[in-house]
Amino acid sequence: MDFEVIVSYLPLYIKAFMLTIKIGWIGIALSLGIGVFCAFVLHFRIPVLSAIVKVYVELFRNTPLLVQLFFVYFGLPKIGISISAEACGAIGLGLLGGSYMTESFRSGLDAVPVSQTESALALGMRKGQLFSNVILPQAVTLSVPAVVANLIFLLKETSVFSAISLMDLMFTAKDLIGLYYNTTECLFMLVIFYVVMLLPVSILGTVIEKKTRFKMFGD
């Protein structure tokens, strides 16, 4: 392994790293928004919207991100909407992530026992008070592990962005290998940068998980 090569590639990798993180987290923010909204729609059984959400979730959970990206990137211009590759990446990730987040939040909401609802109602709580004071805080705690798993999964999924010519980590590595054949160095750096990106999320996730669960369940 040639460390001079590594040092010389470093600026390119850092640039790609920043781009990956930027699009990754914009996509994740989007997915959280979509997930919360859709989970509420399902939980409150809002007519018509519920059916649409169900179709959306199944459609996006059961197709690969790559295919979804192709649809957004090559499909939208055909109907007259052209957006940048970066926006495509973020939207694609947001839509895929949204379907996973929906399921995570919904299962959290459903996991709060009915008896909690009954005891709150018996105290005279109104529907809104019941939801915001009793159901929601417990549902959030219950969905933390699944949400953290989704975060990690989604950040890893950014590796297919290269297919729509986004200069992310994967793209940069493949590009450099193609140009200079320093396969070992390039792949080594790729692994390191992914770990640097994901390890903090993983560790932070575990801490949050422990903190939130401890209150309700102990160790």
Partner: protein
């Protein structure tokens, strides 16, 4: 004494089974009514109808002059006046003991936090749990949780208290600590409807005991008559299951 709760011809069906079959009952202010009966006789369903947790199809329930209607908007308002304690405590696991007790008065009755907390601490002290105020429910024993659940109901100043088998999930030595609290409430003159399997407790606490079987009131009376001179064969047989004498 004035009447506080009236049940008229209350009936309820699940599929084809009559869970409640035309129950009528009048409860006076300050009266303690204990409901006993075999499993599945409709005791819990009956209590749950009284605060609208169950749909009321036939018959009606009145608290004072107000009709309890599960489909009506003012149901929450009525429920504020009916305290209920459940078999499985159902404390809020994400809130401390003090927060469990103060949540409803602050949110529902819009009372001042400081004033509610002061009252909560007094009540927790009364049931011997003031030292647990900052603990979470998971850190308490079943008996302690149930005493907190009673305090949580009391702080709403209910006109009627419903107890749904509040000791059924407890270890024997914890049963006593909970029942002592209920007994002290009875002595205060609170109106209570209690579903229980603890016959000696029923005898001690009740002004009137009701035997429910097959969704009907089979027999009712003062505890002495009820337990010492049961009239119906069905009740005699039921009471016999609680003794091991020949």
């Amino acid at each position: 004494m004035e009447e506080i709760l009236r049940v008229e011809n209350l009936s309820k069906k699940y599929e084809d089974v009559d869970v409640l079959d035309g129950i009528s009952l009048s409860v006076k202010k300050g009266e303690v009514v204990v409901i006993v009966g075999p499993s599945g006789c409709g005791k819990s369903t009956f209590l749950r109808c009284l605060n609208g947790l169950e749909d009321i199809r036939d018959g009606s329930v009145f608290l004072g002059d107000e009709k309890i209607n599960p489909n009506k908007k003012n149901l929450s308002k009525t429920r504020e006046k009916i305290g209920m304690v459940f078999q499985s405590y159902d404390l809020f696991p994400h809130k401390t003991i003090l927060q469990n007790v103060t949540l409803a008065p602050i949110k529902v009755k819009k009372r001042k936090k400081a004033e509610v907390e002061e009252e909560a601490l007094k009540l927790l002290d009364r049931v011997g749990l003031i030292s647990k105020k900052d603990n979470y429910p998971r850190q308490l024993s079943g008996g302690q949780k149930q005493r907190v659940a009673i305090v949580r109901a009391l702080i709403m100043h209910p006109e009627v208290l419903l107890f749904d088998e509040v000791t059924a999930a407890l270890d024997p030595e914890m049963v006593r600590e909970v029942l002592d609290v209920v007994l002290s409430l009875a002595k205060e003159g609170r109106t209570m409807l209690i579903v229980t399997h603890e016959m000696s407790f029923a005898r001690a606490v009740a002004d009137r005991v009701i035997f429910l079987d097959g969704g009907k009131i089979v027999e009712e009376g003062k505890p002495t008559d009820f337990f010492d001179n049961p009239k119906t064969d069905r009740l005699k047989k039921f009471l016999k299951t609680f003794s091991y004498e020949e």
